[in-house]
């Protein structure tokens, strides 16, 4: 679900970098020494997990796990996301260096929103199954939010890209569903086995 090099208007690329710098700067202020290895090691595991492709019908989708990243890393998720996107851009050439800022904002903002809402819900609810369902819904909604932002950006990047924007949204729409199911199952297992992994558990 990345925007590749060469597609976007220069102003959007620069704006993306400015916003990404703000998000990363805010996250860096909260980073302690022991968080560096945590962000890196968990970020690497998320990166590797996102390489898995699920067969859905005749097609296949690969996960982004932005909702799960948000719930596990909380405010630090933008650091793990920009790192993951950087490596996807330079190792697999998915996305790109000129659009790295825009892509990281498109992933980080939904991840932070998911973290905020899940943190709030976590304080109120204690039932694992209910929390997992909510986590799944939030994760699916994070993908939808990210998708809407991509569509808006492509729509306003030029009249010529509108058809591509529609195709992009249809092909990635199924991802929201798969991502929701994956996150719900993953959160259920994490809550049962290692709830300390979740930022909300550590905060409360």
């Amino acid at each position: 679900m990345h925007i590749s090099d060469g597609i976007l208007d220069p102003k959007i690329c620069i704006g993306g970098y400015v916003l990404a710098a703000c998000l990363v700067g805010a996250a860096l202020k909260k980073v302690k020494q022991e968080d560096i290895t945590k962000i890196s090691v968990i970020g690497a595991a998320f990166f590797v997990s996102s390489l898995i492709h699920f067969k859905v019908g005749f097609s296949s989708v690969h996960l982004t796990l932005i909702g799960l990243v948000g719930m596990v890393l909380g405010i630090h998720s933008s650091l793990a996301i920009i790192t993951g996107l950087f490596f996807q851009a330079v190792m697999f050439h998915h996305g790109g260096l000129s659009t790295l800022g825009v892509n990281s904002v498109l992933f980080s903002v939904p991840a932070l929103i998911v973290y905020g809402i899940f943190n709030f819900v976590y304080k109120k609810l204690k039932k694992v199954s209910l929390l997992s369902i909510i986590a799944g819904i939030l994760s699916g909604m994070a993908i939808v939010l990210s998708l809407i932002c991509v569509m808006v950006i492509l729509y306003f990047s030029g009249e010529e890209l509108r058809g591509f924007a529609y195709l992009f949204s249809i092909s990635n729409g199924i991802l929201a569903l798969v991502e929701g199911i994956v996150t719900a199952i993953a959160i259920m297992q994490i809550l049962k086995i290692k709830p300390q992994m979740l930022q909300s558990y550590r905060h409360n």
Binding site: S4, D5, G6, I7, L8, P10, C13, V24, L28, V31, Q33, E34, I36, T37, K38, I39, S40, V41, I42, A44, A45, F46, F47, V48, S49, I52, F54, K55, V56, L68, V72, T83, F86, F87, A89, V90, M91, H93, H94, G96, L97, S98, T99, G158, E159, E160, L161, R162, G163, F164, Y166, L167, V178, I181, I185, A186, Q189, I190, K194, Q196
Partner: protein, 249 residues
């Protein structure tokens, strides 16, 4: 998949001082993303091709790296050409091919190819730790470069771990990656990987702390700028100026 497989080759690009090389390549990538004019597009195509030539990276590996971009463009080109609207240059039944669409898709393709080629040459010719050290010179926070280097080191470890977990599960008779029906098996493997990584992150931190880790990674070696490096960077600054001048015209 490794970034710096060919960083030991001897070439004019490899011998370039990393700080000047990063400055030049990132500048080139940003300028290439903004190019619209036919002449500027020709310049970036020629420059990127020359970068690959002077970088002496194996052509087979470069072409292999271009595959994902090629796949994206194969889908994107017809979609944009058929849906952009504007002046129709060819019509067959209900299908119209638009002039604007072909121009936009061509511009995007040339920009994307040029940028990806420059990225391949930059990261193929310089080790990642050297690039990070060079970026710290441009005031990138050391925490960021430490996170990038740690992540890079653990990506390969986790790919190996994931493959082991998948093989073990398959040998036990689990069906994986076969659609929604078997999703629970696959997610269990992902969660195992994530929990192991979480537990490992604490051990890694303590191990690093015992080795004197204080929030940033130190690397041996220092940079030195030769007059040839200045000449190479100077040539690129002239190219940037020409492209900006053409675009402004």
């Amino acid at each position: 998949m490794d970034l710096d497989n060919y960083s030991n080759i001897k070439s004019p690009i490899h011998s370039w001082d990393a700080r000047l090389k990063c400055f030049t390549f990132f500048g080139y990538i940003l300028i290439s993303a903004f190019v619209d004019n036919f002449y500027s597009l020709t310049i970036i195509t020629v420059v990127s091709t020359l970068l690959v030539f002077f970088g002496r990276l194996p052509l087979k590996s470069v072409i292999k790296s271009l595959k994902p971009l090629l796949l994206l463009l194969i889908i994107m080109f017809p979609v944009i050409s058929l849906t952009s609207g504007g002046e129709v240059i060819y019509s067959y039944g209900v299908i119209d091919v638009y002039r604007n669409g072909i121009i936009t898709a061509s511009v995007i393709s040339i920009r994307a190819f040029s940028i990806v080629l420059a990225t391949i040459v930059l990261f193929g010719s310089t080790r990642l730790n050297i690039i990070m050290k060079a970026l710290e010179f441009f005031k990138i926070p050391p925490t960021i470069s430490a996170i990038f280097l740690f992540t890079y080191r653990y990506i390969f470890l986790y790919i190996e771990n994931l493959n082991k977990l998948l093989t073990a599960a398959k040998l036990r008779g689990y069906r994986l990656l076969h659609g929604i029906k078997h999703i629970k098996n696959t997610v269990s493997i992902l969660v195992t990987l994530l929990i192991r990584s979480y537990e490992q992150s604490e051990r890694v931190f303590y191990a690093m702390r015992l080795r004197g880790f204080s929030g940033s990674l130190r690397s041996i070696g220092s940079f030195s700028i030769e007059w040839l490096d200045v000449v190479k960077t100077g040539i690129f600054i002239i190219i940037f100026a020409v492209i900006i001048w053409i675009e402004l015209l």
